[in-house]
Amino acid sequence: MPKTEEEKGFVDIIDGRYKPRGKFHIIEKNQPIFNKDTGKLAGVTNPRDMTYIHSYGGEAPFFEGIGKGKLLATRCDNPKCDSIGSIFEPFRIYCPDCLRKATIVDITEKARNTAKIHSFIITHRSGAFNTLPKPIKFINVEFDEEVVTILMSVLVVGEPEIGKRVVPIFRTKDPTYTIMDLMFVLEGTPESELPEGFTF
């Protein structure tokens, strides 16, 4: 059963500190585990309901950006670094080579014009807490040569194939502020086929 508003936990930052409010855990009694063949006690269940509080730190602009329809990446602009000009997506706060802070760049248009499938996999399996519809079509997206990495995402409209062109879509209505706000569809997909809440 989904939690009611009264059963949820929320967190704000006030004066530089986390301020939780609401309910963060609902206590559930443990249950004994018996061996049905011998009738003897073997153990107990330990049910637990927890919420982690997590900082995005310097990656926060990326996760805020996708909820607004923007694909932000970072670029090393250090003239003394061999990797100058390299664009990183996944977004890296610092260049992995010179460890200088990288520049945030908007690659939304680059993604629309150059993204294609590098690899993919279709699976009917998932773990607990999955919210993606199954089968899940994982794709790895390569961009033009400036982008030196290959982004993992999911294809939500169309069938994946290595080399096929794809375009990003963004959950701009009620964003989750997670990577789930960024997905891909095959190039040419009409807006009417996008999942609820997503736009190009």
């Binding site: 996944p90 690899s119 996999i121 998932s126 773990g127 993606l132 994982f138 790895n140 990495t149």
Partner: protein, 473 residues
Amino acid sequence: MIKFSDKQLKIPEMSKPVYLATVGMSKFDRAFPETRTEELCIQALTAAADFVNMTPTELKSFIHTAYYGHFADHFGDQLLGEAVIHDRLGLDPLGTIGVKTGGATGGSTMWEAIKAVASGYSDCALALGWERMDEVPTDEGNHLISCAADKDWETPLGHIYTGYYAVMAQRYWQIFGKAEDSFRKTMAEIAVKNRGYARMNPHAHGPMKITVEDVINSPVVAYPLRVLDCCLMSVGSACGIVCDEKTAYEITDKPLRIWIGAGSHTLRVADRRDMKIPLLPNEEPGQYDNLGKRFPGGDRYPGFSSFLAARIAAYYAYNMTGVVDPSEDLDVVELHDAFTISDIQTYEDIGIRPYGDGRDYIESGDAYVINPNTNKPGKLPSNPCGGLIGCMHAVGATGLMQIAEIGYHIWNRWDEIHEPEEKWKAFSREKPIDWTSLQVKGAKRGLAISHAGVGSHVTCTILMDPNHLIKED
């Protein structure tokens, strides 16, 4: 482009020779609903004592420090589980530390123990690992495993690690396997071989007598990977004890020399930038210039089709020991066959075959104890214990189980561990009527690869009979 400095490529040196004195392991199974983890760890350490005709108390008296491999604390809901086991093994107040490097945890644990002895800090160190993945529902277990991927960029996508790994398999399958039926069959042969070998191993939890067709017709997990292409998820424990020369010979007349190399690569496959292929001693400059021509799309290295961490671990280990060509210089290997296709990728990463030609190791019959093409001993048998596909993958113990298995071959005591009727009975397992010895006859040198997930950590352990070293100290 990743570049290495000379200092980074320095061949590791140990200030004194390190020896493997004894090893042990527990029964492995999918679940032990009525057994605590410490009971399995005590089984492993007791087996190591039995192996050198000592009581556990006698063997423990040599141990100076202890290194524990246990990857998934969150499965057991017990932080500092290492302290629990250390206490239950009765090793307090000796110094101890926990090691966690995903699927490579077992190998990494041995890496730490070897360094402790090589440095002179300890004359004798215990490396012991275990894993306990049976105490959560399967879908929650899948979620917990997916936490080994990047929590912001990958885990929310399905909470299923297989998906993050299988994209690598897909790329190798299409580029290097060319999606050919014959390549699919070669993948299946690995599953048939390893599950078949597991039938001869009383410790193994996934023995099966199957055919290529059984593998190819098994349910799809993530195409091209099917259920029978995938490793087991196990519970159990394994250990090894390493020593300096003097201590090793106090424990046993026949200790083995041991070395280890370690490598790493990004947690997210996404971050792997194109680079030049680092060469192993049996490869030549320019050898891979036409790789992209032979396999269109295969020119990005390591891309999604190779494991740089495995290559670097092998680079260090081969150069430490004088191994030039693993097929010529080694007699038996235990590889991290998490999936049939990743096994093939590893053949290339560690130089058993050149990049692009991994499948030939299976197709030639070299990887078998008895080559099915010639009915003669295989050139370099792999995974006679059944590997991760047939024997077990109890993450923190796996790398140590592999080292133990290589040791049994070089000690020429493989049968003693795998044959006795009493052990099969004690493990409530039926010994097959066609039980066959898989002892690699005359084995003097071997290798074990311990590998984490998409290749974030890899260790390469090499064992040798001290009378058959390639490179003198």
